[in-house]
């Protein structure tokens, strides 16, 4: 078999050295029972040709954004990733290396993590960032638990415009730990009153901006109110590119900033793997979950990088750890970092502007359509559209015509009376033709 270098002769020679007649004897000696026979009804081995054929057939059954104009967002965004990014992350030394526990032979990974942490801190306007978490939703739940640890309170207040999956993940974490979590009802037009509900019982207030419905939020008043009551403001974002155009959450008083980094460097991949970004104030360093990469010197005084403050983590603290997380999002964080290094400040601002401009143009084009109403006063590259009927049926019909029109809100918030709402995103990849196809499709249907 092409992945197994040992030959029959090798195995015999090895068994002879071990002193076992055959593998079954060795296995029985090690476990007390013979190995199971048979293939459990599993298929036979396939050649590379056959594997590729099999998986290509499955891939072809999916309508990809490569073949259909795509206006989906709601927490995952389709952006251009430069060819160099994917090429670099496939280098053996990045792809097939492990967690940098032996720093002398993993300075490549460690230096890139240090750069990544710096980039995330700068983008979010915060003092420190960790070496990534699984994704934005788990980073959000971890931020909530961290706020509990810091304030010694166990009650969180959540905006009605937090991504429903993020809210669900936080609720699961709270329920399992016996903590309290209060979420306001879905807030389509950024008109909820979070301020009026901030009191001394809260460990944190969790707000997303740009929010789930696309609205931009000024967090300054909220963070002041939180601080007056001894609570933390957790700011969430799901579209990392927005940070190229919008005020940083750190500059609006946020204490912990978490979000999804997928937009930069990583493909849609049907929902994973993604990369969770986590940034906070230096004073909260010891309560921060996840891996941290720090600068130091080596025996010869040369600057070097090493995983540090491991005593917060599971492999040392065990049942008193800040989190049970072991893996980070390594390669996805690298892709994020390479893409952001290529973009730089200049490129990121232009990219963000292109996104906003495309969305603004689409909004204007949709305004002309009878029966369709764009609800947002403010947006970055995604907004909420009210349709005359069931948005999910419209989306299904347009998909059959080869247009991926957006995400019906009812997909994530069923039974809330929001079935007529559609989330539409437009990135730098959406062309004039794409927009025309969407508008024409909607016109035909409505």
């Amino acid at each position: 078999m092409r992945y197994h270098p040992l030959t029959g002769a090798d195995r015999e020679a090895m068994l002879a050295i071990i002193g076992a007649r055959d593998f079954d004897e060795l296995f029985t000696a090690a476990t007390g029972a013979a190995p199971l026979e048979g293939d459990f009804g599993l298929p036979r081995a396939k050649s590379e040709i056959a594997v590729e054929r099999h998986l290509s057939r499955l891939a072809e059954k999916n309508l990809s954004a490569a073949r259909a104009p795509c206006f989906l967002g709601a927490g995952a965004y389709r952006h251009h990733v430069p060819a160099s990014v994917d090429h670099l992350i496939q280098r053996s030394e990045f792809l097939t290396s492990y967690t940098p526990y032996q720093p002398e032979i993993s300075q490549g990974t460690l230096q890139h993590l240090f750069e990544f942490q710096t980039q995330v801190a700068l983008l979010t306007g915060m003092e420190i960032a960790n070496a990534s978490m699984y994704d934005g939703s788990t980073a959000c739940a971890e931020a909530m638990l961290m706020a509990h640890r810091i304030t010694k309170r166990r009650r969180a207040l959540v905006s009605g415009a937090l991504h429903p999956h993020y809210a669900a993940v936080a609720k699961t974490a709270a329920r399992m730990a016996g903590d309290e979590i209060v979420q306001l009802p879905p807030d389509v037009t950024a008109s909820e009153d979070l301020l009026g509900r901030i009191d001394d019982s809260l460990s944190c207030v969790i707000v997303q901006t740009p929010d789930f419905f696309g609205n931009l939020r000024d967090l300054s008043e909220l963070s002041d109110a939180c601080h007056r009551h001894g609570a933390l403001l957790v700011a969430v974002f799901t579209e990392a590119v927005s940070l190229g155009a919008v005020k940083a959450p750190g500059d609006m008083g946020a204490d912990i900033v978490v979000g999804e980094g997928q937009s930069i460097g990583n493909a849609l991949n049907f929902g994973g793997p993604y990369v969770g970004l986590f940034a906070t104030r230096e004073i909260y360093l010891r309560q921060t979950p996840g891996r941290l990469c720090g600068e130091t010197v080596d025996l010869q005084g040369r600057r070097a990088f090493v995983l540090t403050l491991s005593t917060r983590e599971q492999h040392i603290r065990r049942d008193k750890a800040t989190s049970n997380i072991c893996t980070n999002s390594g390669l996805c964080a690298l892709a994020f970092s390479i893409h952001l290094s290529l973009l730089g400040e200049l490129g990121l601002r232009r990219l963000a502007h292109a996104n906003h401009a495309n969305a603004a143009r689409l909004r204007d084009e949709l305004k002309g359509l009878a029966g369709v109403e764009v609800l947002n006063e403010t947006f970055f590259n995604e907004f909420t559209v009210r349709t005359p009927g069931d948005a999910s049926k419209i989306v299904e019909a347009l998909a059959r015509r080869g247009v991926l029109a957006g995400v019906p809100v009812s997909r994530l918030l069923p039974g809330e009376g929001l079935d007529d709402l559609l989330l539409v995103a437009s990135t730098e990849l959406n062309t004039t033709e794409d927009r025309a196809a969407l508008v024409a499709g909607l016109k035909e249907l409505l």
């Binding site: 010891r286 491991s310 005593t311 040392i316 603290r317 008193k320």
Partner: protein, 124 residues
Amino acid sequence: MSTTYFTKDHEYLRIDGDVAVVGVTDYAQAQLGDVVFVELPPSGKEIAKGGTLATVESVKAASEVYAPVSGEVIEVNAALEEAPGTVNEDAQGAGWFVKLRLASEDELAGLLDAAAYEAFLKTL
């Protein structure tokens, strides 16, 4: 005039009246390796004998230090925040952790004196 007691968990208590200066012994700091952080309790906290008094972190390990006696924390060694290495340099002097107001002098009865501790170390 102060008396110093020890425990088999390598803590020391330097008693002066009803106040004990508590820390870990020189043997302990050598075992722990370079100390990078010491988590101390807040002033005013009441600690029962056997409760967690502090957590000492080295690069690769975190060790709990348990209170050898009950008492109220009246002062903690704030200097350890900037210079945790003091625990390694001078564990039984400048590297002290907390000052406790003793709840009960009777609890001192079970502790080791200097000679007994030295003897104990020889058995390790």
